[in-house]
């Protein structure tokens, strides 16, 4: 008789030959994109800032009705006299520094917690302020809710601090309406911090704080501070992938979903007073309840700093 049973391999080595492992280097960060977008946003905010400064110096509203919508993003006006661009420097620098402070707050805390993140991407856009803001991308999981909380709140705190300081000085240089100021198509609403800062300056009798906030020309740098405050509020809305959504998830993971829905409902209601909230509500709904990868069960106070 012959033995028909095949020999049993003595180890898995015979079945699975060793694989050749090659170390793949992670893709190199493409910093040129960050700097290209930074440069473009610098140009668009300079453009808008030039018109704001010109209007301010000539006692015109920030966004005069006579200019119409094209006047809000005055490319033609700059092409006629390119040197006008220099007028936009105060607004441009103030706004860029505020936005950069916000993003670097996130970025530096990512570094602190050993989370991989990109440098800020600025978004140039033909809007009232020449940009749609900036963002960073988180490229690795966040190890704890404590880290998520700190990374989420660091940006708004940093942006708010710089915007408040900017506002303090800018309100000093704002000035009262004149009789021939003309109509405007954009009337700003002011957040509470504007009234507090105005009140504070008024108490010390400083600069233009003697006049009412709603009857004064805001200096373009104050408009940059206003944009910074708006960006802070928008990011702190408690829902979705906004900074506020991350903070809520870090503090109360199970409340994140319904709080996001509540925020969307609140934005729909608020659109009665400003239609833009409806757009933000839709964007928040579309972005869903996703958030950066983070273990739900990690305690919020777990120390994770490396």
């Amino acid at each position: 008789m012959t033995n028909t049973t095949p020999p049993i391999p003595t180890s898995t080595y015979e079945l699975i030959p060793p694989m050749e492992l090659t170390e793949v280097a992670p893709p190199r960060p493409r910093y040129w994109i960050n700097f290209l977008l930074l440069g473009c946003t610098f140009c668009t905010t300079l453009l808008v800032g030039a018109r704001l400064q010109y209007n301010f110096l000539n006692n015109l509203p920030a966004f005069p009705e006579s200019l119409g919508l094209p006047g809000l993003f005055p490319v033609q006006w700059i092409v006629q006299y390119p040197s006008r661009l220099l007028l936009g420097a105060p607004f441009c620098l103030a706004l860029m520094v505020i936005l950069l402070a916000h993003e670097m707050g996130h970025y530096l805390y990512c570094r602190y917690y050993g989370v991989k993140a990109t440098l800020p991407f600025f978004i140039p856009a033909p809007t009232l302020i020449g940009t749609l803001g900036a963002f960073i991308r988180i490229k690795s999981p966040i190890r704890s809710r404590a880290a998520l909380f700190d990374i989420g709140i660091a940006g708004p705190i940093a942006g708010f601090a710089v915007a408040t300081l900017t506002l303090f000085f800018a309100l000093m240089f704002s000035k009262p309406f004149t009789a021939d100021s003309g109509d405007t198509q954009v009337m700003f609403g002011y957040p509470l911090v504007f009234y507090l800062m105005h009140w504070l300056l008024h108490q010390f009798g400083i600069g233009a704080a003697q006049i009412r906030l709603d009857s004064s020309y805001l200096h373009p740098v104050a408009i940059a501070a206003w944009a910074g405050m708006f960006a802070t509020a928008l990011n702190l809305l408690p829902g979705g992938q906004l900074d506020g959504g991350h903070i809520v998830y870090a503090a109360f993971p199970r409340a994140h979903r319904w709080l996001s829905r509540g925020t969307i409902a609140g934005l729909v209601v608020a659109s009665w007073w400003w239609a833009g909230w409806l757009l933000w509500g839709i964007l928040l709904r579309l972005s869903g309840a996703r958030h950066p990868a983070c273990p739900e069960r990690s305690p919020a106070s777990l120390p994770t700093a490396g």
């Binding site: 709140i153 954009v186 802070t232 903070i247 009665w272």
Partner: protein
Amino acid sequence: MLFVAVLLLALTFMVAPVQGWGIRGYAESIFGS
């Protein structure tokens, strides 16, 4: 720190960042105030 987040939101939030650009304004222009 959660308190700080709520405080910042309260200090910076505007119901109408740009006045008169709400659905209310459009409704009033169509139906009257």
